[in-house]
């Protein structure tokens, strides 16, 4: 049962919405529309010769097996980033929730990484994991791991996933902690009285009640993995070695700025936009139903 509120005015609501709508129009619809238009053009790097080619750019991009690999890689990368960013964050939040003394100090320390720009996070991890001089790669060599992200695609992938997720852990931690604190203590106490152990309390009470938070964080983290990880990849691996860390957003930038092929780059950004919009719709339509608020 929903109650509908009906406003007597027709103009006022739109007037109140206007500032937000104008901002969205200028900063989202206009550039997005331009990208769609440019994706149908073939032009030289300086825009001296511009021709309408219809869907040719999409054909070229989608028929390229390397690009299809990039799409698959982007999904793998995003799933890994989301998992690596959510699981430790939940663990840390549960731990922090139990701390009584000096809780705010721990919380502050755990939140700090969120204030760091992705590119800076990339640079930090690059130093930590640099072959032969890195603080982490040095001991790795002693235990017999031949760590070299410059030439080993798997090492490079691990590196960009870790550094992309690391920054996001702080953000997720914050939301999980808030979610945990809003779980009524009486429920936990009731479970304890019924003799449920910690594991059972977590799976049957805490996790279901955290579902709305988790769902929200999945949406936010997927978007982060698709778009904002550009800085990490640009500063660490430039998509290499080979193409092993090239994700869609990086290739959009590369084809537009380095290769100076505006049409192909625009076509890719349209494809990227469609994928992310579709993902978000799917998440809201199907996962949302399973979440109890």
């Amino acid at each position: 049962m929903e109650r509908k509120v009906v406003y007597p005015h027709l103009v006022l609501p739109y007037l109140l919405l206007a500032p937000q709508l104008i901002i969205i129009a200028i900063f989202f619809y206009l550039p997005a529309g331009q990208a769609v238009w440019m994706s149908t053009l073939l032009q030289d790097p300086l825009g001296l010769s511009v021709r309408f080619v219809g869907l040719e750019n999409f054909e070229i991009v989608l028929s390229d097996p390397a690009y299809r690999e990039t799409i698959a890689r982007t999904f793998l990368f995003s799933i890994l980033v989301v998992v690596v960013a959510l699981v430790p964050a939940l663990f840390l939040a549960i731990m922090a929730d139990r701390v009584v003394r000096g809780a705010s100090i721990y919380k502050t320390i755990l939140i700090i990484p969120y204030a760091i720009a992705p590119a800076v996070a990339g640079a930090l991890f690059l130093f930590l994991f640099a072959p032969s001089i890195g603080v982490i790669s040095w001991p790795l060599r002693f235990v017999g791991v031949d760590w070299n992200p410059r030439i080993d695609g798997l090492d490079a992938m691990i590196l960009v996933v870790l550094s992309s997720a690391w920054k996001q852990i702080a953000y997720n931690f914050l939301f999980f902690l808030a979610g945990l604190q809003s779980i009524p203590k009486s429920l936990i106490e009731a479970a304890k009285i019924d003799g449920a152990n910690a594991k059972r309390q977590f799976w049957t009470i805490v996790l279901p009640l955290l579902a709305p938070t988790t769902f929200f964080l999945i949406v936010v983290n997927v978007t982060y993995a698709f778009f904002e990880t550009f800085g990490v990849i640009h500063s660490m691996t430039q998509g290499g070695p080979g193409k092993s860390t090239e994700i869609m957003i990086y290739k959009v930038w590369y084809d537009g700025f380095i290769a100076q092929d505006i049409g192909r780059s625009a076509a890719q950004s349209v494809i990227l936009m469609v994928i992310v919009v579709a993902l978000t719709v799917v998440q809201f339509r199907y996962i949302d139903r399973k979440v109890h608020y």
Binding site: L42, R150, G242
Partner: protein, 471 residues
Amino acid sequence: MSKDSRRLRPLRAEGTPQTGEDTMIRRTLLKGVATAATLAALTFTASAQTRTTIDMWIGVTGPAQEQILGLAREFNESQQTVTANVSFRGQYPEQRAAAFAAFRAGNPPHIMQMFDAGTGDMFGLPRATIPVSEVFRRAGMAFDPAQFIGPARSYYSAADGTLNSMPFNVSTAVMFYNKNIFRAAGLNPEQPPRTWPELIAAATQIRERNAAECGFTTTWLAWIMLEQFSALHDLPLATEANGRGGLSTELTFADAQRAQMVQTLIDASRNNVFRYGGRSNDAAALFEAGTCGILLQSSGGHASIANAMRTRNNEFGVAALPHFPSIIAEPKNGIVGGASLWVFNRANMSEAEIRGVAQFLAHLARPESLVRFATATGFLPATQAAFQQMQASGFFAQNAGRDVPILQLTRGTPTSNSGGYRFGRWTEIRDMYHEEVERALQGQQTAIVALQNAQRRGNEALRQFQRSVGN
């Protein structure tokens, strides 16, 4: 606090409706400020009334940037008519993206510094620029392209001898080696390897005697292992005289010789005889830190290496790039790298602007400018006159190894394979080579397959470029 911020706000947000009293005060204040500003501006422009401003965008940092800014300052003080306004707009690729965007918006800089690999793009877009030779002709100033050293001139000239862009920071790739590591490995530090078999033997010995963590490494993989390698061994990169004959050029570098080079790197990767240090400049750090005994790198990196070696108390030597005697007995000249200066064809450029551009370019090409630039950076003197001046002053005698790159560039008679190349989208094609060779170094494909893939993808890019410029 809130009172203060209200007082301050009107100055920033001009035109926002205010209460009557506030507005009055604001207007009077603004008027006063405006009058003072106009007066100051008037007195200032009175002395500089006739000055034409010339914008130049550059993409270099460190000593090279300081030198160019210094030359511009000196130029501005030396005369009354032109002000050269040099600004750094990010590293080469970012600066190029910025300049191209400015061109699309109808307001490009007068001059831009374009790196070697972008040369083919500019040649493919003749309407966008004015050849340097023509700039001087229109300015009524004498200009002889022959003043520039041969390999640089041929790299930036059209078939009819017109110099399209002015060579400025010229470099080539050479071999640096650490003499201390050579001694520790029982190698003769005064006898650097001249050929690839010798280099591999030396690097292997460095590893066997554990004199360093790795034998050799290289920067700029495609530039050194494909472009310089092909010029040295007199092998064509593509049809149509390496692309200088026209946009229909097709890459032909996937052959046994180029594969032998890649295979040599793959084989040497075992036991760290060779260590891959990334696509661009990063491998230089491996040499500077004493991790690798030998480095193949741009001569432009000389100053930085010399600094690092001094701090480490190590001696280093410079030698020509190695070659395969099985492919060529006497290696040809190397090709130039670095960047050149292009003049954008701005809409409605006045005669004064053309003259200003020509005067500033002439100032940069003076022997004394180039000598100072080359001395401070490790780049090569771009003109014969500057080279001779450095020779006469005894610079090369005092600075061992600094003449190696210029001798390597100018040795022998250049062939159509060693006189440079010209391809659209070469920046991207270089990365295709990087990607494919990296996959070969990971053991995912053989050397020849890597080259075939790079060649096929490169040719697709060339065709796409040809179509995009409307040919």
